[in-house]
């Protein structure tokens, strides 16, 4: 664990989470969720959970974002809230 990084990363994660659920454009929300996953991955790597970070990295970069974009492309992009 690297305490100095921990503070900053937790702050970033919260910013990203709030932004992801409050953006009206769903594609943007999906993308911000991708950034959220970056920071989560960093956070876990920082706590020494390399395997978990690896999994999160491959899942978020390889599957998660793409899957959500595919779902958005099959439905609507705008949301009311």
């Amino acid at each position: 664990m690297i305490v100095a990084f921990d503070f900053i990363l937790l702050l970033f994660v919260i910013i990203c989470a709030i932004a992801a659920i409050s953006v009206k454009d769903l594609l943007s929300a999906v993308y911000i969720l991708g950034a959220y996953s970056f920071f989560m991955c960093l956070l876990w790597a920082e706590m020494g959970a390399v395997d978990v970070a690896f999994t999160e990295a491959s899942v978020s970069a390889g599957i998660g974002t793409v899957l959500l974009i595919a779902a958005v492309s099959k439905t609507k992009r705008r949301s009311k809230d």
């Binding site: 900053i8 970056f38 790597a45 690896f54 970069a61």
Partner: protein, 87 residues
């Protein structure tokens, strides 16, 4: 004070600036640009953590994943945008 720690903090402050674009940036395109910039910085920070832990060979792999896979998301989003909602 460790040089890697310092460099990492500097990168984090830059990430914070990028995050402004990512959160408030007008339109999805700016956000994509900002987040891909965050992705590159993430890659370097991961390596830095490896140096701080003195176990770089473990962290290189994660970094490599980002280098190889990070552009899939960008390409998908770009395709979605240019095909006007189809994939």
């Amino acid at each position: 004070m460790n040089i890697f720690l310092l460099f990492g903090m500097g990168l984090f402050s830059l990430v914070f600036l990028c995050l402004y674009r990512a959160v408030f940036g007008p339109g999805v395109l700016n956000r994509i640009a900002a987040i891909s910039a965050i992705g590159t910085k993430t890659l370097v920070i991961l390596l830095l953590m490896g140096f701080i832990y003195n176990r770089v060979e473990m962290f290189v792999d994660i970094s490599m994943v980002y280098a190889l896979l990070n552009f899939i998301g960008t390409i998908t989003a770009a395709k979605y945008l240019e095909m006007k909602g189809e994939l």
